[in-house]
Amino acid sequence: MTVRDVAVEAYKEALPALAASLVGGLIAGVVLGGMRAELRAVPGLLVLVPALLATRGNVYGSLGARIATALHQGLIEPRVTGGDERLRAAATAALANGVLTSTFAAVVAYFLLTFLGSRVAPLPILVGVAIVAGLLSGIVLTVVVVSVVFAGYRRGRNPDTIVGPVVTTTGDVFGILFLLIAVRTVLAVAGVF
């Protein structure tokens, strides 16, 4: 193949996935743009945004890849029975990894910003936001990843090629959306005490 052939093929193959994640990214951006009041109210929250978004992508991308592999190997059936032990174990591990990593990000961000002398919200607020956002987005992303991979597999699509774009798109949107919900919840709870 000539350089031109390779380039044309690579371009055509990648454009649809990029276009899909572009739409997801813009929706996430609009939610982030509408969160300016919360970003001002919780200094340090913006510093957490890339880490939280990447965690969603890394954890649930890997969950999707594991489910896809298990389907290929015939270890699980493409049906949500709730009783399948492997599926439940993989989903629980992903959720635990997601929440732990988000909490770790919040703690490290708090100490980094304190060390740098920047303004930062109290540790319990940042950690609370990270845990609530990690749990809520984790539950929704698990459901989305499992249903999309199963539905795709039953329709004869290769789950490996669906997982990436689905996780990047929904991960960004739900990641930011649940971050907003988590900040509002934690601020409301903190306001009560």
Partner: protein
């Protein structure tokens, strides 16, 4: 998997600190803030698509690490072409979305499109360099590029996305 996640989190917090350092500017110009997730995401995607293709060619044995290799050159050209196609749409989309949601026009449409396109071209060049180097290192150390290169490239491109957006915004806004 947890240790890898924690290390990647530290890397991502680095880009968070860069983001935090121009928080005032981002809060003043909402269309720039809207650009943040989509720029990070697209940069990561450009890198991961390229990495996945190179590692497949690598496994198929059609890849040689020579500057005259057609696979390398073709994939590099495609990455640049994708960035030039997608980033003006990202800029215009961010401006229109901001305008529709909040009526904000603190930055001109043209400025946001130019910021997005300049960031996109720089990111495509960086994504190509990072992916080629990471694939080459994996090859030299006998590692499977599927396991190593894709997560490294995706997260490095995430960070570069923020750094490049910051740099371009300082020059153009």
């Amino acid at each position: 998997m947890l240790p890898v996640l924690l290390v990647l989190t530290l890397v991502e917090l680095g880009s968070g600190l860069v983001l935090g350092s121009f928080e005032a500017q981002l809060l003043r110009y909402p269309s720039l803030l809207v650009l943040v997730p989509v720029t990070i995401g697209t940069a990561g995607n450009l890198g991961s698509v390229l990495a996945a293709r190179l590692s497949t060619s690598f496994h198929l044995g059609t890849l040689s690490f020579s500057p005259r290799d057609d696979e390398l050159a073709g994939n590099a050209v495609a990455t640049l072409a994708l960035a030039v196609t997608v980033f003006p749409v990202i800029g215009a989309g961010a401006w229109v979305a901001t305008f529709l949601v909040s009526g904000d026009t603190s930055l001109a449409l043209r400025t946001v499109v130019i910021v997005a396109l300049s960031s996109g071209i720089s990111l495509a060049v960086l994504a190509v360099l990072v992916t080629f180097s990471a694939t080459y290192v994996a090859y030299r150390f006998g590692l499977d590029p599927d396991d190593v290169v894709i997560p490294v490239v995706t997260n490095v491109c995430d960070v570069l996305g923020v750094v490049v957006l910051f740099g371009v915004a300082q020059v153009l806004v």
